[in-house]
Amino acid sequence: MDLNHSADVEAFRAEARDWLAAHVPATPLPSLETREGFAAHREWEALLHSARWAVVSWPEEYGGRGVDIEHWLVFEEEYWAAGAPGRVSQNGINLLAPTLFDHATGEQRARVLPSMASGRTIWAQAWSEPESGSDLASLTSRAVRTEGGWLLSGQKTWSSRAAFADRAFGIFRTDPDAPKPHQGLTYLMFDLRAPGVTVRPIGRLDGKPAFAELFLDEVFVPDADVIGEPGQGWRIAMSTTGNERGLTLRAPGRFLAAADRLVDLWHNLGNPADTALRDRVADAVVGARAYQLFTWANASRFAAGETIGAESSLNKVFWSRYDIALHESALDLLGPDAELADGEWAEPWIFSLAGPIYAGTNEIQRDIIAERLLGLPKGRR
């Protein structure tokens, strides 16, 4: 067992650190959940991409550096430690791209990935529907065969960043007569500015248009934008949720940096004697380390050729609870200043509150853990 990175990884770390130190904006960009912030973040993505830091784990031909997961984890540590902006293109990079690598044609990869990497095209995920949240397979939005492609109709909702994004990916019912709800679904990509698409931004808890509803009225999608075989959408989509909850949705670097900031806050307040608060600061430090080490162990399994299955649900519940606890501790330390909406911790706290809901609610994750990892009997779902 060994926790040391190779010289190659450390050199990569140093290179990333130097570049970030020279390029991370001195003043934070405006919130990426606003029009102005979205544009500023898009520019940041372009800058990252120009130095090939946007998608380090992708093959070089698509703008990456072709590095393994250990390099990626180290890059993320440096990225968040440097205080770099949140990634406006994360839906595409974390959710659609892995799906494309696994299931798309060469033509689709060549067409979609480069503009995703540069931030020229920002992607939204269009999975949820008003009547289909946790029970995603019950979705009813449909795609009907037409000359050279499909016509999409129905309604999607809670689509993150769709208010300002360019394109979306989602699953649609193509065979309403399939015997089971998981069958007869098709995974495809569409343009948010195509005729027939209406995007209605939804204000999240703090009012910022962080997600949107999509109304689709016979929106044309060419065959070239179907991913994998029609009817196989569920299987393809599930291979993506594994990525989402598993190793790549929340890199430990993000929490290590947040825990550092919390310790600094506590320290700058003069190490308050309140031991209950002190304990929570310590818990944040320990939790970030635990998450980092857990991820490294999984990455080692990955490198040894194993695949990560239901274990990714352990991750999801852990980081989402951790994130809330950390931000609540910051607010408690801030005292009367905690409620100031423009405070440094306010927006991250608001964001943390959604963690147990998106990417599969924590209740659903716990079911997966209990049934697939502990072998408990299936209950009513």
Binding site: M1, D2, L3, N4, H5, S6, V9, E70, V263, H267, N271, T275, R278, D279, V281, A282, D283, V285, V286, G287, R289, A290, Y291, L293, F294, W296, A297, A299, S300, R301, A303, A304, L314, V317, F318, E363, Q365, R366, D367, I369, A370, E371, L373, L374, G375, L376, P377, K378, G379
Partner: protein, 327 residues
């Protein structure tokens, strides 16, 4: 970086697990609690024969060199099996004497400790006042805050912990002065870190045993015509228990790799809390039968809380984490 135990590292733990699973540990624990140490010592001889304690002593004195990773893996198994006795203390005493580097003392005590033939107990600065199982140990070492290592002449009357298999006694003052000075203080600090690490390992094993027994129970106990394990309220508590334990494990590995005091404290804090939470879940999900001493589950249930606090309470561990962090 390859943050996974190697085959050899896992092999040792597997061997120990098999051996303990084939022994009647619950009977030995119950006898131990009743003051009869014989079955416990027989058990002890069996697991000591795997070379467990030799992992805490140097080669010159019948040890295998200090191998914290392998030892921690072994102590997870001791926790899983719920073995009685001053296992942590014996290993910590071996570490203390190895680190001290006093040839005469090493020769006198280490071979017996490394072989597990002369169980020891000890109190160290920063640890609790009580020596565990002084009545069953061959040696009782004490280290004073001033750095005096002594062989205590005896101990007060044993008092029973909330875990009847843990018996606590205050060492008598005085006794033979074995060594004194900064070298003792430094060796005692190392020994305390090892004691904390190995207790964390024992906690993790204890929590795993509690979870495994509770999962089995939830699969076979039926109410309302269905296995209780099919109810979400039951499932979700068990899922949370698994999360707690699975995130403690890598902390334990990292602590064993580095023996950094902050890492050791983080591991102890997390494993201790996870095991105690596992105990509370186990109790609740077993219902009334879990609240009896008859059920073997009680042997682990009652251990979880004392182990969580031994060799560093959660609060002490949190303080240590921040101290290292701000250094």
């Amino acid at each position: 970086m390859r943050f996974l135990p190697s085959e050899e590292q896992s092999d040792f733990a597997r061997t120990l697990r098999g051996l303990l699973a084939a022994s009647d540990v619950p009977a030995a624990v119950r006898a131990w609690g009743a003051g009869d140490h014989a079955p416990g010592k027989e058990l002890w001889a069996r697991f000591a024969a795997t070379g467990l304690f030799a992992l805490a002593a140097d080669e010159a004195h019948e040890g295998m060199g200090l191998m914290p990773l392998e030892l921690a893996g072994g102590f997870v198994e001791l926790g899983r099996a719920g073995v009685p006795g001053p296992v942590v203390e014996t290993a910590a005493a071996a570490v203390l004497l190895t680190r001290l580097g006093d040839e005469a003392l090493a020769k006198r005590f280490l071979p017996g400790l490394a072989a597990g033939e002369t169980p020891a107990t000890l109190t160290l600065p920063g640890g609790g006042p009580y020596a565990l199982d002084a009545d069953a140990a061959t040696h009782l070492f004490t280290v004073s805050p001033a750095g005096e290592l002594r062989l205590a002449p005896g101990a007060g009357p044993p008092r029973t912990s909330i875990d009847p298999a843990r018996r606590l006694a205050l060492p008598d003052g005085g006794g033979e002065l074995l060594a004194a000075g900064p070298a003792v203080t430094a060796a005692a600090r190392d020994a305390a870190d090892w004691a904390r690490l190995l207790t964390a390992a024992q906690c993790l094993g204890t929590g795993e045993a509690l979870l495994a027994r509770t999962v089995e129970y939830a699969k076979q106990r039926t109410q309302f015509g269905t296995a209780i394990g099919a109810f979400q309220a039951v499932k979700h508590r068990l899922a949370d228990t698994l999360i707690g334990l699975e995130f403690a494990r890598p902390l334990l590995w990292a602590a064993a790799l580095s023996l950094d005091p902050g890492e050791v404290a983080a591991a102890k804090l997390t494993a201790g809390e996870a095991a105690y939470a596992a105990a509370m879940t186990a109790l609740q999900l077993h219902g009334a039968v879990g609240y009896t001493e008859e059920l073997d589950l009680s042997l682990w249930l009652r251990k979880a809380r004392p182990l969580r606090d031994a060799w560093g309470s959660p609060s002490q561990c949190r303080a240590a984490v921040l101290q290292e962090r701000l250094r």
